[in-house]
């Protein structure tokens, strides 16, 4: 997830390639034999195995039965224990006249039996450790935090093992080990509060520590004893992962010597199957630990692991519960908002508290909302784009600039980033930020010198003196509870978005339904409402032609009936055009407005016969739009200008246009009766008229239609005028035609 500070390059460690599970040799403080489980005969053995037999037999143990090796009594006991082992440590046995501690475990390559001579001072029996361990377990719940717990454990480990110094350290996310507790007798220097770089324990060694919890090295200056033959009957090297006598890497032995510790024992602390930390025991001089003490330490290690695990789980659960409460509070607030973004924005502090952040941002549908201290919108967009390329649902870092140096400009507010993706398709994210917190890390020796190559040999650093490093570009790390809370929050938000999308789809289908109803309504109107008007007009006409002797009054009545029906029919037609406009899609193309105007002038010519009209038409730039609709819009304006200037002689109608960077603006001006600007806002309303019907006929829809056409092109229209001083209509059509629905 995140890389180590300045030590990251050291992770590419040559140690990591050493075959530590298959060293081909053991440490010399014991003897190892491999027994074939079927024949019960020895197939492999360490070179020092013949010593087990004393001087009685030849020089090799290979091919012997277990009985032949250890005698009948010991063999029976070993078999009984192996049949029902409760630990690797079997017992202390009398073998060929010598008291030996026997360890055994089954592997795919055979039964591995290890024999160790007890240390000169055999120490206490396992039973003797019981009261100590029991007391310690009783005291455990009293320790407030993990550091106190570890300090108490360190004391206990030292008492049992008798080593000069016990360190208990915890691994951080980069696998650097931070010393949490120390107990020592002053022989070895104190490393309390220091940090050991991750490279001190290579990945494969950590994995082995996870599997095999306890290791001892009684003397770092030992000479390894080879396994003979080196390969098992199947031709494979012997896997010593679980062997107590496994020989360790020469680099590690050098490391011990450099640290001034010739004996060591380490016990793994596992929490939920993960290597949480290590108990590391050191002695300045070589030191053996008897099997009982080792078993007691192993037990202590398990107890410590369980307590730490329980405490961490408890802390995690408490934190999760607290965060969950914040989260549900926020979700309740969001549910009553128009959108989750505005809901987040309106409850900024709750939003920040969901993961304990100092800044937050949401990027969705091209909009950016922020809360607290967050990077600038364009940096947020760049970050979202980068995250989108990575394609992760959840991104967590406490050192953004170390991971992606291109974001080093925002370390001050966003060293820590916790981001959740809220859309599979788009780069939509909710992000939380934490600022950079500079801090000092004390390393046990300069971590950059953790491994050196001397004379082409890899050697660990020589100095473990405290080395100070100022760490920059890092925020306080996000806890697992916070990360899990964010992941929870992600699914809640996605659910919310999906639900809103469903609601919107439902609304859309309702709208479509009502739109269809409206369409069929206007379809019926268009058919059935027009017909009666047509009939009225038709029959009046027929009547008029048939009755040649009608009085002028009767003729006037007929004319009035006729006019009324014609204008009612016109009204229906106009209303239909208006309603159709919202429904039909625009077919956009470049429109030669010059031509359109010429064509309009031609088409109005029959109706303006006998009038004095002075057309002043300038060059018009082409527009981008729907040709038929733009013609209609312009026609209505020209028709309007002609209508209101009919008392002028000459009527002057000016049509001009100008091209601007983003739009074309057209103007239609007349010298007619004009209008009072006080009513300008009413000009474009449907059925709005500024003149009496008998003065100027019309349905009151023309300008409304024009405005709607212009708006559907994404443009604007305005009118200027004064009573008796003419009117001027200007409208703009954007160059890049953006058709607008409805």
């Amino acid at each position: 997830m995140v890389s180590a500070v300045s030590t990251s390059d050291l992770n590419l460690d040559l140690c990591a390639q050493e075959p530590i599970r298959f060293p081909g040799s053991i440490q010399p403080h014991g003897t190892l034999v491999v027994v074939d489980p079927n024949s019960r005969r020895i197939v492999q053995a360490s070179a020092n195995a013949p010593a087990l037999l004393g001087q009685r037999r030849g020089s090799s143990v290979l091919g012997l039965s277990v009985t032949e090796l250890v005698g009948e009594t010991a063999e029976r006991q070993i078999n009984a224990w192996l049949a029902n082992p409760d630990s690797n440590y079997l017992r202390t046995l009398e073998v060929n006249g010598e008291r030996l501690q026997v360890l055994g475990h089954q592997t795919a390559q055979g039964i591995i039996l290890e024999f160790e001579q007890p240390p000169a001072s055999e120490g206490e029996t396992l039973e003797a450790y019981y009261p100590r361990v029991g007391r310690f377990m009783e005291d455990l719940p009293a320790y407030e935090d993990v550091a106190d717990l570890c300090a108490a454990a360190a004391r206990e480990f030292r008492q049992i093992s008798g080593f000069n110094r016990i360190l208990i350290y915890r691994f951080d996310e980069q696998w650097n080990g931070e010393v949490l507790a120390e107990d020592g007798d002053g022989v070895l220097p104190s490393y309390a509060g220091l940090r050991f770089p991750a490279s001190d324990i290579p990945t494969q060694a950590r994995e082995l520590y996870r599997l095999n919890r306890l290791r001892v090295i009684p003397d770092a200056n030992y000479t390894p004893v080879p396994i003979e033959p080196p390969l098992d009957p199947g031709g494979k090297p012997l896997d010593l992962s679980f062997a107590a006598l496994r020989s360790v890497s020469p680099v590690h032995l050098q490391y011990m010597r450099n640290m001034g510790t010739l004996a060591s024992m380490s016990i793994s602390v596992l929490v939920d199957g993960r290597l949480w930390g290590l108990v590391s025991a050191h002695n300045a001089t070589p030191r053996r630990v008897n099997a009982q003490a080792r078993t007691a330490c192993d037990l202590l290690g398990k107890v410590l692991s369980q307590h730490i695990g329980a405490r961490e789980r408890g802390a995690y659960a408490a934190k999760r519960m607290a965060l969950k409460q914040v989260e549900s509070e926020l979700l309740t607030k969001i549910a009553s908002s128009d959108s989750f973004q505005s809901g987040l924005g309106a409850h900024a502090s709750t939003w920040l508290n969901v993961v304990g952040a100092s800044g937050a941002a949401v990027l969705h549908d091209d909009a950016v909302f922020t809360a607290g201290t967050a990077p600038a919108p364009e940096r947020l967009r760049a970050l979202a784009e980068k995250l989108h390329q990575q394609g992760t649902d959840c991104f967590v870092t406490d050192s953004l600039s170390l991971q992606w140096p291109e974001f080093s400009d925002i370390v001050d507010v966003a060293s820590g980033v916790l981001a959740i993706s809220i859309s599979q398709l788009h780069s939509s994210y909710i992000l939380w930020f934490r600022p950079e917190v500079e801090r000092t890390v004390l390393w046990a020796g300069d971590p950059r010198a953790a491994k050196q190559v001397d004379n082409e040999r890899l050697t660990p650093r020589h100095s473990f003196a405290s080395w100070k490093e100022l760490v920059k570009g890092r925020a306080l790390p996000w806890s697992q509870a916070e990360i899990d809370g964010a992941v929870d929050f992600r699914s809640a938000i996605i659910n919310f978005v999906l639900r809103r999308a469903e609601e919107r789809a439902e609304l859309t289908s309702q709208l479509q339904r009502s739109n269809r109803e409206l369409e069929s309504f206007s379809y019926s109107v268009s058919h059935d409402l027009r017909a009666p008007f047509r009939h009225i007009v038709g029959y009046t006409q027929l009547l008029r032609e048939r009755e040649r002797s009608l009085s002028p009054q009767s003729l006037h009545y007929l004319d009035s009936i006729n006019e009324a029906a014609v204008s009612a029919g016109q009204l229906v037609d106009d209303l239909l055009s208006f309603s159709q406009l919202g429904r039909t899609a625009l077919s956009m193309s470049p429109v030669d407005m010059q031509k359109v105007v010429q064509e309009i002038v031609r088409s109005v010519a029959p109706d303006t016969r006998g009038r004095q009209i002075e057309w002043r038409i300038q060059r018009l730039p082409p527009a981008n739009g729907d040709a038929a609709l733009l013609r209609q819009a312009l026609y209505n304006l020209v028709d309007n200008a002609l209508k209101y200037s009919r008392d002028r002689s000459p009527a002057i109608i000016e049509i001009s246009g100008e091209q601007h960077p983003s739009e074309c603006v057209y103007t239609v001006r007349d010298n007619g009766v004009g209008f009072d600007m006080a009513y300008a806002h009413k000009l474009f309303g449907v059925f709005q008229r500024l003149h009496r019907m008998e003065d100027f006929a019309g349905t009151g829809i023309g300008l409304a239609l024009t405005q709607r056409i212009i708006e559907r092109h994404g443009g604007w229209i305005e009118a200027r005028g004064a009573l008796d001083e003419g009117a001027e209509f200007r409208f703009g059509i954007p160059l890049k035609g953006a058709s607008v629905d409805g």
């Binding site: 059935d528 027009r530 017909a531 047509r534 009939h535 038709g538 037609d573 039909t584």
Partner: protein, 156 residues
């Protein structure tokens, strides 16, 4: 021009029939006017069946077809006429109150020969009907029908 074929007017509204007939009468056409009151009857006439099974064969000079009709509507009648090789050449003029663009587009897709929105203004209506009557009833020559009247294969 010796043999003037009838004009088939398909219209359900009595007032529209009366007005259309008046308009056609004004232009003094010699053609007979046959009126069908719905789409089904129009098809019966064209295919000499039902109440028209005894009529003399022969296609009309033009079909003036209203769009909204009971039973079988105008677009369906048009589709039937234009999808049948035997009747495809009969000129069909859609006469309608509708200004709906979709009707117009659909009609042209189906192969209508002309589409006329009945104007509200009666004079304009007269002019339109007269033009139609003159052009399609008198001037326009249609190719002779290939199959004989009664045994036309019908395609839906």
């Amino acid at each position: 021009m010796a043999d003037l074929r009838p004009i088939l007017l398909v219209e359900d509204n009595l007032k529209d029939i009366e007005l259309t007939l008046a308009a056609l009468a004004k232009c003094q056409l010699a053609n007979d006017i046959v009126v069908a009151r719905d789409g089904a009857e129009a098809l019966d006439y064209l295919y000499c069946r039902g109440q028209h099974q005894d009529r003399l064969g022969g296609d009309p000079a033009v079909v003036l077809l209203d769009l909204k009709l009971p039973k079988v509507d105008g677009l369906e009648v048009l589709a039937t006429i234009k999808s049948d090789a035997a009747t495809r050449s009969i000129p069909v003029v859609m006469l309608t109150s509708s200004r709906e663009e979709s009707d117009l587009i659909r009609s042209y897709e189906l192969g209508v020969n002309a589409f006329v929105v009945k104007p509200v203004d009666f004079n304009a209506f007269f002019e339109a009907i007269q033009d139609l009557g003159m052009f399609w009833g008198v001037l326009n020559e249609t190719p002779p029908r290939i199959a004989s009247g009664g045994s036309v294969e019908k395609k839906q």
